[in-house]
Subunit: 206 residues, 2 copies
């Protein structure tokens, strides 16, 4: 194994992030790499820092993205329990839960993130609800996470502080989208760049 | 040949459009398709219609795009005579010249567009200057375009009207970026989607 993991940034509300989350571990493993999962918040990066409006409130692009995501899902045989046009959840409770798992169950945060993503996008549950997040621990016992501890943890000052710090650090590293991947510091934005990440790892850059 | 050409939309100020312009003809030809080249204006689509700021004035994304374009140029062995951070030309004279060529030298507009792109991005000339656009006709005699007629044509009411109509029509078709490709109406945005266009043509969609 190459000791330097790939940095994978995501927001749970991002469907493109979900798409990439399904492939990043296998991609990294093909090159002997681990994945370091990092939460980020599109609301802070895109709206506050970049001064842009949400994708689905952007004329022309919104129609394209809806079409593009459906095409991607068909190509990869994915069933979605949620439409892009459904109300977007507040991603902060789930992002804080991820921070709590990363601190208190280090090593399982990637699997936890994938389970959360699955529950939100494939099953269509609203993870702004702390009970729904805690249910991830119950329905995925292999994670070894206590649901009550998770539910308390996601509301803790510690998790709030960890999330603020993670978001600040992501912006400092130039991360502005989901998914966003850093390979030894080299930035790749978007699920449509996974093949390029693959090539970069294969060739060792260029 | 499949009688339906691929629609290829571009703005001369778009470096990603230039990148794609170098590959679209060969890609289409592999599938027995011709290419119908269409001018569009990012200033109208992105700034006026979508209400976004220019890419290079968008925090975080601007740094990424500069990095990404340099990486693409290295990967494809391209030399650029212009930096993304150089002042952007007024694209309208060149876009009107393209409209004039499309109307008066139908069939050569793709080659003309590639020659303009070459002069702007590889040679780094400012094509807001009508004399620089006319020089494209002189330095590319195979086009069979008279430089004086081109220079007069790009300032004509006819070309102005053609460009306005082309831009309006592009927006009606949902085109908001450069490059933007329609395959039998199926939309693909971005030079990083050329491989997907290739697959779409190969499989006949999905």
């Amino acid at each position: 194994m190459n000791p330097t993991p790939i940095d994978f940034y995501f927001d749970f509300i991002s469907l493109y992030g979900y798409f990439a989350s399904l492939r990043i571990e296998a991609l990294a493993a093909r090159h002997g790499r681990a994945v370091n999962w990092h939460g980020m918040l599109l609301g802070v990066a895109v709206m506050k820092t970049m001064g842009l409006k949400p994708l689905l409130e952007t004329p022309l692009k919104s129609d394209y993205v809806i079409h593009d995501c459906a095409r991607y899902a068909r190509r990869h045989g994915l069933e979605l329990g949620r439409k892009l046009t459904d109300p977007v959840m507040d991603p902060r409770p789930a992002a804080r839960a991820f921070c709590w798992v990363k601190r208190h169950h280090a090593g399982t945060e990637g699997a936890f993130a994938r389970a959360v993503y699955d529950r939100y996008w494939r099953l269509g549950r609203d993870l702004a609800d702390a009970a729904e997040i805690a249910a991830v621990a119950e329905t995925t016992p292999a994670l070894g996470i206590d649901a009550h501890a998770l539910r308390a943890g996601l509301d803790s000052d510690e998790a709030r502080s960890d999330l603020r710090e993670a978001v600040t650090r992501s912006l400092e590293r130039g991360v502005f989208g989901s998914p966003f991947i850093l390979v030894d510091g080299e930035p790749f934005w978007g699920s449509d760049r996974l093949d390029l990440v693959d090539e970069w790892l294969e060739r060792g850059g260029w």
